[in-house]
């Protein structure tokens, strides 16, 4: 099945990248001038506007600051689903999807672990072949650190 990253066509910078060992990771940037870590990595350092930045990867672990369930549809996502504001590497605060299966809603301080996989599927019409193709849209999500892989 054809695949694309969920950011393709919307954010041109690299959000998901391949590490030297072939594993996927979230791409961040460390500014060599002000020393701050930013995710995602944009054109210049978002703190000091320096171009003197270094590509790096965020660690796999995140700590929950706040989490809640959404009960209304947010196309292409069907409810209910869980979002959490998390801290990564004690420097990055961002909002992520949490796949918790039947587990409880994460609370402040809970540890989460990064995963990559299908977020949703979409249909694309090919004008040349007149066929409709299904595309798997790939992104990142987190699971409770103490659980196995509990993707629904």
């Amino acid at each position: 099945m054809k695949q694309r990253y969920f950011t393709e066509g919307y954010i041109s910078c690299e959000v998901i990248g391949e590490k030297e060992n072939g594993e996927l990771g979230l791409v961040a940037q460390r500014c060599k001038d002000c020393g701050r870590l930013a995710f995602p990595a944009y054109e210049l350092c978002p703190y000091c506007s320096s171009a003197n930045t270094e590509r790096t990867f965020l660690s796999q672990d995140a700590a929950v600051l706040s989490a809640s369930d959404t009960y209304a549809p947010v196309p292409p996502y069907k409810p209910p689903f869980t979002l959490a504001m998390v801290d990564i590497d004690n420097e990055v605060r961002t909002i992520v999807r949490v796949e918790r299966g039947d587990g409880r809603l994460p609370e402040k301080g809970d540890k989460l672990s990064l995963r990559f996989g299908k977020l949703f599927e979409e249909e694309e019409f090919d004008r040349k072949t007149k066929n409709t193709e299904t595309i798997e849209v790939i992104g990142y999500y987190y699971i409770p650190a103490d659980s196995g892989d509990i993707r629904r």
Binding site: P40, D69, P73, V74, Y77, D87, R93, T94
Partner: protein, 389 residues
């Protein structure tokens, strides 16, 4: 910089109005403002037209109907703060001496927008990382609710208080979409959207427009044929947020604090000198989260002050005496001009049933975006402080 004064205001009723387009609404509010000012529309030398979903050059389309399609007109889009941004731009033109008389007109037909939208459900902003993961405003505020509960001891009843208070206030405002008081039970019985956020804790969709005419002191003195009370724009500021970091708690908006401090400095007022506030209450808990950054109460005390009725219509510092976005609805581009109109109406002493006693200084604030911009944490805040002189 020159002092800037208010000559006229206009505002449509905020309600679902499928018969009128956003341009129709803008025209009505602009015309009413011109009539309120008592001047010919030809006197307007520059205009800023704020809308988020309106047609291209909607400002020109509206003002050409008043015979002023040939003046410099800028269409302004700055999320929920679009309207205050338009007022700010009109203010700067007068303050800098570029012109003597300017107009800010904000408008939006959410009904029309809904008709054209093909998606059902909540709308997430594309090109925003959070939005692409399913983050919408109610979900974001449900995350803030958790923080208010953990850090400020807020209960669910507390989090519902602004919507109950503002619906109470709105029963006296004939321009509000909803004029009936709400109970806690009704609020919690409405459909749940995210976390503890229910439908009645969110501002409703609404159509509407508002307009403000600003001018120099000399112009005001010469042209105030309707003998409007003299109201000065004591401060007008616009700030954008930086990056969301682990040092920033989403419960306490730093861009709001920065904008508030700039506004108090510019107006040479302390927060204690503000008599009432019209602020961005798109969600019930959002109003609570604004009290401390705006310095309406000491840090850590928002719930204590609220429980004592400090922000009620008859309280020490009424917040959203008009009923706020929660009761009027939120036509995106209109609301920022509307909060200025509400403050001016109060300062003129013409707010009828929701009049704040001895209103001399009022603050109008809107927060735009909240984690749903092109970047995470791309938030814009605009504040005006107006004073009757």
């Amino acid at each position: 910089m020159r002092d800037v004064f208010v000559l006229g205001i206009g505002q449509t009723k905020f309600a679902a109005n499928p018969a009128l387009s956003s341009v129709d609404l803008a025209t009505q509010a602009a015309l009413e403002a011109v009539q309120d000012a008592g001047i010919s529309a030809k006197e307007i030398q520059a205009a800023y037209a704020s809308a988020v979903t309106a047609p291209l050059t909607a400002g020109q389309m509206a003002l050409i109907r008043l015979g002023i399609g040939d003046i410099p007109i800028v269409n302004v889009s700055n999320a929920c703060a679009s309207g205050n941004t338009a007022v700010h731009m009109g203010y700067k033109d007068i303050a800098a001496g570029f012109c003597e008389c300017s107009m800010a007109v904000g408008f939006e037909s959410m009904t029309q927008n809904q008709k054209e939208s093909k998606t059902k459900g909540l709308l997430a902003v594309k090109a925003d990382l959070g939005g692409m993961l399913g983050l919408t405003m109610p979900s974001y505020f449900s995350l803030i609710y958790n923080r208010l509960r953990e850090e400020r001891g807020a209960t669910i009843e507390d989090l519902c208080y602004p919507t109950i208070k503002n619906h109470y206030n709105a029963q006296f405002n004939t321009l509000a979409q909803y004029n009936k008081p709400l109970t806690y039970e009704q609020v919690m019985a409405s459909p749940r959207i995210a976390g503890e956020v229910t439908t009645l804790q969110c501002c409703p969709q609404s159509d509407g427009a508002a307009a403000v005419i600003l001018c120099s002191e000399e112009y005001f003195t010469k042209h105030n044929v309707n003998n409007q009370p003299k109201i000065r724009v004591a401060a007008s500021v616009l700030r954008s947020s930086g990056w969301l970091t682990t040092e920033k708690d989403p419960m306490f908006s730093h861009v709001l604090r920065e904008a508030a401090d700039l506004a108090y400095d510019m107006a040479e007022k302390s927060p204690e000198q503000i008599d009432f506030v019209e602020l961005h209450d798109a969600f019930s808990g959002e109003e609570i989260a604004a009290y401390e950054p705006l310095r309406l109460c000491p840090e850590g005390k928002c719930i204590d002050f609220m429980r004592k009725g400090y922000f009620a219509l008859d309280g020490k510092l009424p917040v959203n005496p008009s009923g706020g976005l929660l009761s009027l609805g939120h036509p995106l581009g209109a609301s920022g001009v509307r909060v200025n109109c509400e403050v001016i109406r109060q300062l003129r002493g013409r707010a009828d049933g929701y009049q704040v006693k001895n209103a001399r200084v009022g603050l109008a604030q809107m927060l735009g975006s909240v984690l749903l911009g092109g970047h995470e944490s791309a938030v814009v805040c605009s504040i005006q402080i107006l004073q009757r002189v």
